[in-house]
Amino acid sequence: MSDKEKNSSIKEELQRWEKTTLPRWMRQRPERKNEFRNHSGMLIKRVYTPEDIKDLDYMLDLGFPGEYPFTRGVHATMYRGRLWTMRMFSGYGTAGQTNQRFKYLLKEGETGLSIAFDYPTITGYDSDHPFAEGEVGICGVAVASLKDMEVLLDGIPLDKVTTSMTINGPAAMLLAMYVAVGDKQGVPREKIGGTTQNDMLKEYFAQKLCIFPPKPSLKLVTDITEYCTRHLPKWNPISISGYHIREAGSNAVQELAFTLYDGIAYVESVLKRGLKVDDFAPRLSFFFASHNNLFEEIAKFRAARRLWAKIMKERFHAKSPRSMWMRMHVQTSGCTLTSQQPLNNITRTTIEALAAVLGGTQSLHTNSFDEALCLPTEEAVRVALRTQQIMAHESGAADTTDPLAGSYYVEALTNEMEKQAMEYIQKIDDMGGAIAAIEKGFFQKEIADSAYKYQRETDEKKRIIVGVNEYKTGEKALIPILRIDPKVEKEQVSRLQKLRRERDNGKVEKVLEKLHYMAEKDENLMPIIINAVRAYATLGEICGVLRKVYGEHKELIII
């Protein structure tokens, strides 16, 4: 029997089953709901068969791991060769405290660092700025100058450990500080490895920690990418992020489409700078959320790789397969965690982490069970790390590559994800691109609507969240809470003020003047920013100069 004949007989058999076996069961044991949908609103069928993937072409649509279109993974040996990087996002209090946490995590088997900065740092204000009051060291570590970065990375060999920095508006300044510490350690620049998030576009509609307006921000993103391509070959200049889009309330398809569209915008911008696609595209990396619908997420990761490969090949005419591969970091979804019965979050995180591993991620952060209440305690973060280690070493999930390939359901979902994401991409193209869509409020409205829909469904119990709208205990959570001592802010402020007294202020003034001049001339600012941080100009001072030149972003409010 040919495949075609086999399929048509399956189709007939399915119709027979629907007429004979199914109705009996539907009477005796009716289905729990009239319809089943995933978060993206896709209708989930009762059962999937070869009929659902009859057009799937193995070599064209899946291929082999490590080869175009990378649906099955970016490496040929995947986790059989090397496990994903276990990278726990961490940072709190002073640089010294976070340095201790880093060392603890490395000792416990973490394999890469990921720095969480506090809000003043993220928004480009020094720790002693009036806006920083009450926020210093609270949600991350305070880094106001190279001095803090030196303490933060003390004793950590930058040629051996790679570091991811969740930093966007001031990405250039924090990268400059990292490079300066590397120089002091005597590490050659070509050996410095890591990632700056540096994805400004999603800031305007998802994470919303913006300093400058979209156009100069895109210019800075491009400066960093150009600089890294030329001088820091092991650095990933941008981590094109869907995580924040998802956390802000989008569904999986929107997360996928908007993230890939931001990627398109960055590629276009760097190409305009005169770089060749195959020179920089291999180092673009991605960052997604792993929400709680296991199969929807797995399909999203697989579709993301295939779609990006096609975009790079067909839209940007990349030649090198490495320009087409999508490497990704995944974080389990913070917004699925509940403050009620917080230990249940360990289970949620496990399911989400499993989706990321079955979806072929390169790097993973697992949330701690207490994160709906506070920054994680040491115990909570250890359980989160152990969750990854159990998955890696005990579950068998890492023993073969892309184990769900060929599943009728997963392949059908992967196709549907790709199709719906492509429809969004065409829509944004028609709007005139990412910046135009931001200025129109398109992304913002799409996300706000999805977030509201999700909440309504939860309120109406169309969606059950254990411990929140069902299986409630009414008990208050009794787990230890990480508290940041208010002394942290005082100490940080006095250290910063001491730095201002003791540094060569004439030198700082000069370098800031030069920065101002170069920013107006539209030059690549990375080299001068490196000089500025080396002179111990503070983050707030450097951002202050650029605020004067570029102006500040004004939020477009859409509820």
């Binding site: 809000y119 928004t123 609270i138 709906a372 506070c374 977030a451 909440q455 309120d459 969240i465 959570a477």
Partner: protein, 135 residues
Amino acid sequence: MQTEKKIRVLIAKPGLDSHDRGAKIVARSLRDAGMEVIYTGLRQTPEQIVETALQEDVDVVGLSILSGAHKTLFPKIMELMRGKGLTDVMVFAGGIIPEEDIPELKKLGIKEIFGPGTPTEAIAKFVFDNVPRRT
């Protein structure tokens, strides 16, 4: 027949954190419940929030914060409100606020603190039940 005046609510985001999903959902659900809602947008200083509350002549202020700076910012806002004579405005709050901080914040005059997972109807009902009756 006189139609009843709509309840005016200001939803405000003090501090530097940008987690506005909750604030926007609360704003929208109170609007859907029939109130007039003004949303400040992100990164408002206590001064800006109180000024907006005054200018917009609101009955209710809802503060949303997830950065952990509530112990610094909420007392400031409450103090400024008293200073401007906004003592008849009902204030509630939401976000990531540890249980043990709640009594202290309520002492400042914040009527209720809603944690993650609160149904939006519960917030709307609370506002309807507790809005100060103004003539």
